[in-house]
């Protein structure tokens, strides 16, 4: 199993190279004038040239690429043209916010999606099943940013129950960073007040983000439960006279969950890149907001950095899911 993990980790290297190449091609070969934007409207031609030289933008693309990859080997993600801050430090600051949001959304999706899927499978072809099927498709169809706006309108603007956006009010000191997740850090440091405040900020964006994975997981769970229920071993268990709740818990749920896991893994990676709009609506200081700002000013180093980090996490998440698959379902062997 160690060899399996090592081999998969080794595969990350070509992924990094490929990803940077694609993003670099987009950054350098498309039209646009990032230097002009960064230099500002009153810059002279000489200042622009100086800026281009400073960032190596006047050198051939392949040379720029080589410099970038060389820097990556030392953990250097380049420098933002606009803010002149190291991208690596920015990524480290914004990644935990996005991860916290995605984990919260996945938590909601899994915690509700799996039992709901199981239930609807048991109620197959009765009216709760139909209703939930329609609701699921509706949930997938709901634009996340529109849902976000509606939530804001109701709970933050009209009812004023929840804050409009952000991670914490500015007057509150964030807890000592341990995991980078404010909610978790607050719990670990025992700061109950900060925890509830952070949680109240997290609820709406997490709900807006969770709807579509929730629906997908539920449908997936329903389908695999139905499939599992028709399998021989379930019949056998039933014939052996195992109590219904044991069959459900041990046999059906376990097998169905392991099939659903793949979807969860895929969704996790997908959500990381899909937070952009939700982060925009809720002013959530994560990777999506960071990338959006950079994209709008054609500051490509941060964009390459974000794509790289998300791509890597995507690959890692799949690896973790493959491992989890084996834990739940010991029949799987790692080749």
């Amino acid at each position: 199993m160690i060899r399996f993990i090592l081999r998969r980790l080794l595969l990350l290297i070509p992924v990094i190279i490929g990803l940077t190449m694609i993003m670099f091609a987009i950054a350098r070969l498309l039209p646009g004038d990032p230097v002009g934007l960064a230099a500002g409207p009153n810059a002279t031609a000489a200042e622009r040239a100086a800026l281009a030289t400073e960032f190596g933008l006047d050198r051939p693309v392949w040379e720029q690429y080589a410099t970038y990859v060389g820097g990556l080997a030392h953990g250097d993600f380049g420098t933002s043209l606009l803010t002149r801050r190291p991208v690596g430090a920015d990524l480290a600051a914004y990644l935990p916010a996005t991860l916290e949001l995605v984990f919260a959304a996945m938590f909601i999706a899994v915690a509700l999606g799996i039992p709901l899927g199981l239930l609807t499978a048991l109620w197959r072809n009765r009216w709760p099943d139909y209703v939930s099927q329609v609701l699921a498709i509706g949930a997938i169809s709901m634009p996340r940013f529109f849902l976000g706006l509606l939530l804001q309108l109701c709970f933050a603007m009209w009812l004023m129950w929840l804050p409009l956006g952000g991670r914490l009010p500015i007057i509150v000191f964030p807890p000592q960073p341990i995991t980078g997740f404010i909610t978790l850090d607050a719990l670990l440091t025992g700061d109950w007040q900060v925890f509830t405040t952070a949680l109240r900020h997290l609820i709406m964006p997490a709900v807006a983000l969770s709807l579509s994975p929730l629906a997908t997981i539920m449908r997936m769970m329903r389908a695999s439960t139905i499939e599992v229920m028709g399998q021989d071993y379930v019949m056998t268990a039933r014939a052996l006279g195992l109590p219904r709740h044991k069959i459900l818990g041990r046999v059906i749920a376990r097998n169905a969950v392991s099939a659903t896991l793949t979807v969860i893994g895929l969704y996790f990676g997908w959500l990381l890149g899909g937070t952009v709009l939700v982060e925009t609506v809720f002013d959530w200081p994560g990777l999506g907001l960071y990338a959006t700002k950079a994209i709008l000013s054609q500051d490509m180093m941060p964009v390459i950095g974000v794509a790289l980090v998300i791509g890597l996490i995507f690959v890692l998440a799949n690896l973790v899911i493959d491992l989890a698959y084996g834990l739940i379902n010991p029949k799987v062997r790692y080749a």
Partner: protein, 522 residues
């Protein structure tokens, strides 16, 4: 929901609403460090170096953390003492002597000396970034002299009437501190996140893209300060969020509010609205050098077809411009005869042009994402329909728009621009927006009239105010006769403030970069 939860939530809100001054929040908060003024802004502070950064958030930092020789205050704006307690202008208008305030000290405790002033101007002009363009060709760093430790003499390249008005944008850094952290780039890297300043506040803590916390400096030497212990510059991207924070008392000042936000704040409890004219013009430049609008009759036809009322309606709290200069600035002629919507006149001029029936397409660009510019572009599209002219609207990134200004061939037919008077002097806008030496730049890409050039040059070197005013009057008439622009609106400055804030006096120069020293919190 339990009632306990309810209570704590309400208490939190109420405490926040009461202002953070006396509140002891149940959470660890800035409130415990004293009276904190929270300013909600949508602009991150790009970098702390006062000689390379620009934009209003950088101006906020400069105004509160650094000191210039003179500041600008009051309405209409006038220079007031800062590091310089007094100054004298030579009879030729090209030499200035500044006496430094002996009480002035840097955050390090060292006194501010003439050496530091000379060093700062040398640094600003040789780096040639940020605001240095304001003094380009005017100040030669070699001719800034330290006469003694407390006296600085400037010998300008030529007389410059607006000299005192631009000085607020040239903060003084502490030479010894910068030299100690010089690196290979004149300390740019170090000053990006550190300061070497003498201002009333210091940067105590910051989180990029989120908030900047400035604490009252222990060495604050400035007179007439308020009771603030600190300021928080909080980045709130959406204006609607800024307004809600203000209403809830989570922010004391909101600086990016729209007209719609101001309407919504009318009568809101605990909120004061500041709606004041400021020298920020919006106009639409026409391509006077290339394409159909090189024809003055067509330009006039468009100027008379424009629905000015709609432009004003869409802008909300604004005033229509009367001619090229901002209303109320020195030399502005409020009785200037400028085009107003008059379709008959428009058609008259159209008939005199090469295309009396219209039937062609013009191109207008605007900054993508700038809501007001989008609205105005749509209004122009609607207005031009009356002349049977179609308008193609293209949102562009600002740098691409700037690039299009390089030549008359690439310059679009209609080009909207905001011009902010960085200093409260008519020369700022007259020179930047109508002098032909600026051709190829975004402020005046194509317009060129030797008569107008001569008037601008004469006015900027004229020191006698009455004669200057007469020159600007002639200038405005000449520009209106040429009709190079559709004169749009002056958007009023729209700030929201909690009524707990006192000591505020509006000054129409970059008022969104709030000067906090005089402010107090109840």
């Amino acid at each position: 929901m339990t009632s306990a939860f309810n209570l704590s939530r309400r208490t939190l809100l109420a405490l926040a609403g009461a202002g953070l001054a006396s509140a002891v929040l149940p959470v660890k908060s800035f409130a415990q460090s004293g009276r904190m003024l929270v300013i909600a802004s949508n602009q991150d502070i790009p970098n702390f170096d006062p000689h390379t950064s620009s934009g209003y958030s950088a101006a906020f930092l400069m105004r509160n953390v650094y000191d210039p020789l003179v500041r600008v205050a009051e309405n209409p704006p006038a220079p007031v003492p800062a590091l310089a307690e007094s100054w004298e202008m030579g009879a030729d208008g090209a030499s200035y002597v500044f006496k430094l305030n002996p009480a002035a000290v840097f955050h390090s405790g060292a006194p501010v000396t003439a050496e530091d002033v000379v060093y700062s101007f040398t640094r600003a002009m040789t780096l040639a970034k940020g605001n240095s363009w304001m003094l380009r060709g005017i100040v030669d760093p070699a001719k800034v002299m330290a006469t003694d430790a407390g006296t600085v003499t400037f010998t300008l390249e030529k007389p410059f009437a607006a000299f005192l008005a631009v000085l607020p944008w040239f903060p003084i850094v502490e030479k010894a501190v910068v030299e100690a952290n010089l690196g290979s780039d004149q300390g740019q890297t170090w000053l990006m996140t550190n300061t070497a300043a003498s201002g009333p506040f210091t940067v105590a803590r910051f989180q990029v893209g989120t908030m900047y916390y400035l604490a009252r400096s222990k060495t604050a030497w400035q007179a007439a300060g308020g009771n603030l212990d600190g300021i928080i510059w909080q980045i709130v991207r959406e204006t609607a969020s800024q307004r809600l924070m203000l209403q809830r008392g989570e922010a004391h000042v909101a600086v990016d509010l729209t007209s719609e936000d101001m309407d919504a704040l009318e009568g809101a409890a605990g909120v004061t609205r500041v709606i004041e004219p400021e020298y920020r013009t919006f106009s639409i430049k026409m391509n006077t050098a290339h394409g159909p609008l090189a024809d003055i009759n067509l330009r006039k036809a468009i100027a008379y077809a424009t629905n000015y009322q709609a432009i004003l309606d869409a802008a909300g709290y604004a005033d229509l411009m009367v001619g090229p200069l901002p209303n109320g600035i020195m030399g502005h002629d409020p009785n200037l005869d400028v085009p107003r919507m008059d379709l008959d006149k428009a058609k008259e001029f159209l008939a005199k042009s090469a295309t009396p029936e219209g039937g062609f397409t013009l191109k207008m660009v605007h900054v993508s994402g700038l809501e007001q510019q989008r609205r105005w572009a749509l209004i122009m599209l609607d207005s031009l329909k009356a002349l049977n002219i179609t308008l193609e609207i293209q949102p562009m990134n600002w740098p691409d728009m700037v690039a299009a200004c390089a030549s008359p061939e690439t310059f679009p037919d209609l080009f909207p621009v905001y011009q902010t008077a960085n200093y409260g002097d008519p020369d700022n806008i007259a020179y930047a927006a109508y002098h032909s030496s600026r051709n190829g730049g975004w402020q005046n890409a194509v317009y060129k009239n030797p008569e107008v050039d001569a008037l601008i040059e004469e006015a900027r070197s004229e020191i006698d105010p009455a004669k200057r005013a007469a020159l600007y009057e002639a200038f405005q008439k000449a520009v209106v006769a040429d009709s190079p622009d559709i004169f749009g609106v002056l958007e009023r400055r729209k700030l929201g403030m909690r009524d707990a804030v006192s000591g505020y006096a509006f000054c129409p120069v970059a008022s969104n970069a709030v000067e906090c020293w005089p402010l107090s919190l109840a």
